[in-house]
Symmetry: C2
Subunit: 341 residues, 2 copies
């Protein structure tokens, strides 16, 4: 696809990676994984089976790693961040299970999604279980402040998901409404995951706020790129089908920009495809949509918007001293954005 | 239906009611209702709309009333039980929303269910919102002990729902497996709702345990009668369609008893109807099923089993002094069982 080649040329050869982060938190992450496997256990065997399928499916563990790296940045000593990082992953997994039901997805990270294998019912209920289990883990940790942060994040996520449901198939959705959705459904958990690192380390409010701001803006950048990738990356690379959002009529930034920059004929095209979901079965409409996005630079500008939020995230870390933790957290920003290429 | 008449004769004329309970907690319940309306608010309007539909649909508010009456029994002074009773109702409502999605129900308390009006997606997400909001309310209350009780109850409920999903359509399900399901999916929240009344009042562990035991056994009795009513009460009275469980192939105690007491021909009938879901569309199979239940007294014995758990619940209250709260709580037991008639 032309866009990929152009962008490849634009930046250098060797892309940023999560290597520094992985090295920084690998011992802790192994403990988080053990905690996850341990605590998703239930005498009802279907629960660890289904939960294990999605948790083991090879997600990046980005959110729990954010908690671990943030705790490290704050010089946290002690074991509390391990359990709380597992909580964050449980909440994330619960929302994935419910998302796949809501989106009627059949693929997740390149594998059959849990709802495709075990049905929607089991996915809803195991999601509820993981969500409850997350709160049980927080209770064991015993911090009302952490409970406040994650219960608030959880209702914000749910609000964001409902808002997304309402704006689906509405091509008049503004960039601001879209931002409100991704801020809630994605960035709120990134923000909470990072803030918890400062909370367990008993750092001053300013550092809590800095890590929250880092997480929030990183989360926005992450979701922008995710939405851009749905129109550009290869399915194998991403582990999910290209054009999913298009087929569901999701209104993401690449669409919003192309719609606003297009002429009447193009808007009629977008309405037919995304509002009426009247789409050519041979993929011709998807190819045409990508063509319009290239014409209006809406994929490139989605990346540019992501860079803006990435820059805010980077500056938010400014108050922390340089070192391996700060540098790993900075690398995540570049990784989240540059995985677009 | 013959069973109704027989049972009507068996007991007296004027049945027990929730009147004493309602009188006892009416001021508090009004505050709980205000809290519920207040706290299901969200800038995303669909959330209070959908949540309001199910919450306002005229449920009995049995679970929050249990918290209120238990707090009264424990001489609790102060406002904490109000917010926590609202939490209990939020958790209950969240599970109802997810249940209706899982059961594909189109009716709830005689009205169209939320999933029938707004779709499964919105029901899943608003359920998640109410669940998160419940935890936010608990965090405001600030008691780790309450958080522990309700987060544990929530995962037990989810486990019970998954277990029910697994045993659905399996006529070999034992009475014990069935009991395990209803203990988890229904009784655990009754138990938690009651126990919280002792916790807010800082009562000794023995009283906490007594109220928990009362709630657990009351919850089992309640669900037994609920499952019995699906084969006997009039739809209008119950606000839901008779034979729902039959059509879905749910294995409840009336079925388990009739199946075990039946002959080979009858078991073939049960398997065809509940495992293969091969059922006559004119309701003839449902009528035949009810006939078999009458033949084997399986509805009557389901009530008898409920009486057994009701008796345990009654004795659990023995350590508390007599008075209006204790008497109201005792009335609930009779009401839950005698609504069978």
């Amino acid at each position: 696809m032309a866009i990929v080649v152009n962008l490849e040329e634009e930046r250098g050869k060797k892309g940023p990676s999560l290597d520094a982060l992985t090295a920084l938190v690998s011992d802790d992450l192994a403990k988080v994984n053990t905690t996850i496997v341990d605590r998703m256990h239930s005498p009802v065997e279907l629960i660890p089976q289904l939960a294990g399928h999605i948790i083991a499916a090879g997600g990046k563990r980005l959110r729990p790693m954010l908690t671990l790296a943030s705790a490290k940045l704050c010089n946290h000593r002690g074991p509390r961040h391990i359990k709380l990082a597992a909580c964050v992953e449980f909440i994330h997994t619960a929302t994935l299970l419910h998302d796949d039901v809501v989106d009627e997805s059949s693929l997740r990270r390149g594998l059959a999604s849990a709802n495709a294998v075990w049905g929607n019912k089991a996915s809803v209920l195991v999601g509820d279980f993981l969500f409850s289990r997350a709160f049980e883990l927080m209770v064991e940790d015993g911090s009302i402040q952490v409970l406040a942060i994650l219960s608030r994040a959880s209702s914000v996520i749910a609000e964001g998901e409902v808002l997304q449901l309402i704006t689906a198939n509405d091509t008049s959705t503004s960039e601001d409404s879209y931002l409100e959705v991704i801020r809630a459904k994605t960035a709120a958990l990134f923000a909470a995951a990072c803030r918890i690192g400062a909370v367990v380390a008993n750092r001053p409010k300013a550092e809590e706020a800095a890590l929250e701001s880092y997480g929030l803006n990183l989360g926005i950048a992450f979701q922008l790129i995710d939405d851009m990738l749905d129109y550009s990356a290869k399915q194998e690379k991403l582990g999910k089908a290209i054009g999913d959002d298009f087929r569901e009529g999701k209104i993401t930034l690449p669409v919003i920009l192309a719609f606003r920059r297009g002429d009447d004929e193009e808007r009629t095209f977008w309405r037919r495809n995304l509002e009426e979901l009247d789409q050519a079965e041979d993929g011709a409409d998807l190819r045409h949509a990508i063509g319009l996005m290239e014409k209006h630079q809406s994929l490139l500008d989605t990346i540019n918007r992501a860079r803006h939020y990435g820059a805010i995230a980077r500056d938010a870390l400014g108050i922390f001293p340089d070192g391996p933790a700060k540098s790993a957290l900075t690398d995540i920003i570049d990784f989240c954005i540059d995985r677009a290429f």
